[in-house]
């Protein structure tokens, strides 16, 4: 079982504290919604889990191991981050082949994920001509590339059309039912209410709530009012 564990994570950038003593666990086989207002430290937390930023204190572990010690990172964790980019002059399939080279993932798998995100026919096109939604699908393909047991997705529905959002919902549920650990950061509370098993709510870098969705109430409104109450509470 590969769970994601954040323990006492603190990250300061100069005088700004982005994350302050955050702890939570995202278990395998569940979709964990990671919620918080803009600037609440969600992205920094993801980046710390992925070894991109160095924690000022605490640690973030994947299956008990820091990301940078994973022997085959793409086969262990799939990540979609908001700032992830593509070279505009590179073809979509080549973009994935570059990322696949790290873990020696075969081209066959690249074609598989392109089909999975419905980009098979666009694979030979340069990313320059892609719409926002297509770029998002390419980012999801990159996350799925190594068939990883852990997925960290930052606003995965960004730019997707309604059919794409529905497809994504099904994908997340299926990934969790296969026993994977799925963590989704999102502002779309109604989407989270429909897909997540449990939620972690942060504000100003601190944990405000961690628990099952059932404790809050399964309806869209219940999650929204709980979110607003928890995140606007004074420090």
């Amino acid at each position: 079982m590969t769970e994601v564990e954040v323990r006492g994570l603190t990250k300061t950038f100069g005088r700004v504290t982005a994350v302050a003593g955050l702890s939570f666990t995202a278990p395998a086989g569940k979709v964990t919604g990671f919620l918080g207002p803009n600037g609440s430290g969600k992205t920094t937390t993801f980046r710390a889990v992925l070894g991109l930023v160095r924690p000022s204190a605490g640690e973030a572990l994947i299956g008990g191991v820091p990301y940078r010690h994973l022997a085959r990172p793409r086969r262990s964790v799939g990540a979609l981050l908001d700032a992830t980019g593509c070279h505009p002059g590179r073809r979509a399939r080549d973009h994935l082949r570059v990322l696949a080279a790290g873990d020696g993932i075969p081209d066959r798998r690249v074609d598989e994920v392109l089909r999975q995100v419905d980009l098979a026919s666009a694979g030979t096109r340069r990313v320059r001509g892609f719409s926002l939604g297509m770029r998002q699908r390419l980012g999801l393909a990159a996350a799925l590339l190594g068939d990883p047991p852990v997925l960290l997705l930052d606003e995965p529905a960004n730019g997707l059309d309604p059919a794409g959002v529905a497809w994504l919902r099904g994908l997340l549920r299926r990934l969790a039912s296969e026993g994977r650990t799925v963590v989704v950061a999102s502002h779309l509370l109604s989407e989270v209410a429909q897909t997540a098993d449990q939620v972690v709510i942060v504000s100003a870098g601190r944990l405000r709530f961690a628990g099952s969705l059932g404790e809050i109430g399964q309806t869209d409104n219940a999650l929204e009012s709980a979110f607003l109450k928890l995140t606007m509470a004074p420090d």
Partner: protein
């Protein structure tokens, strides 16, 4: 490490920009040699033959910018995040980039050398003379030129890793070449100026653009340039391993 190098090769072979930049090298060499002849260079003077072949070293300015694209280009397009997700060992990423870009710099230098020899031979033949490759240290000039192409590709990788902002890194590099080194050289005086990187590279590729400076011997220029590349590499490793990627 081999998978990291393999990845860098794939990155480089799936985009066109860097290759267009390198392709400009032989073109500039050909144009430079033609300009030298057309502006009245005496082809019977062995010095002029050396000057013609020394254009190979000048093309190193392009491998410098080519090298800068390695890391700063990844920051420019936001691909650096995915790179470090695939290869969390950042030191290895920098090492692989150095290897691949230095190799490409060597290839570019060799193509520029072939071009220089062919174009010089053609002009010399057209003017009723013959290119004497054995004369005037021609081979040393060409070898120095290729070495400069390699060294500046490596230095470029490090400059890009240190500055990270693509426009900033290129601006710093070009300003240093065009302006800062000349002024620094004047302030330091000729004795110290020849230890600066571009005066050292002039010694290495025998371009002798600066008659006022008494340049180091060729091997000395080469060693000084290797020293700069090593210092830049050390600085690039230290900062790359420590920095947050946000």
């Amino acid at each position: 490490m081999l998978l990291t190098i393999h990845g860098e090769f794939r990155k480089l072979t799936t985009i066109r920009g860097p290759w267009l930049l390198l392709a400009a090298g032989p073109l500039l060499v050909a144009a430079g040699i033609s300009g030298l002849v057309e502006s009245g260079g005496n082809i019977h003077d062995p010095q002029v033959q050396t000057q013609a072949l020394a254009h190979v070293g000048l093309a190193a300015m392009l491998t410098l910018i080519f090298g800068i694209l390695a890391v700063a280009g990844e920051y420019r397009h936001g691909t650096i995040t995915d790179t470090y997700l695939s290869w969390p060992g950042r030191g290895r990423v920098i090492a692989a980039k150095l290897a691949v870009y230095a190799l490409a710099g060597a290839a570019a230098g060799l193509v520029s050398s072939l071009t220089a020899v062919a174009v010089t031979a053609a002009w010399w033949a057209a003017k009723g003379s013959a290119l004497q490759l054995s004369a005037g240290g021609s081979w040393q000039v060409l070898a120095g030129g290729v070495a400069a192409n390699v060294a500046f590709a490596a230095i470029g990788v490090c400059v890009g890793a240190l500055v990270r902002n693509l426009a900033g890194a290129i601006a710093v590099a070009l300003a240093w070449i065009a302006l800062v080194e000349g002024i620094t050289g004047q302030l330091l005086g000729s004795g110290l100026a020849r230890w600066l990187p571009f005066y050292a590279s002039e010694a290495l590729d025998r371009a002798s653009l600066s008659p006022a400076i008494r340049l180091l011997p060729q091997w000395g220029g080469g060693l000084v340039l290797v020293g700069y590349a090593a210092a830049f590499t050390a600085a690039a490793f230290v900062t790359t391993l420590r920095r947050d990627v946000t």
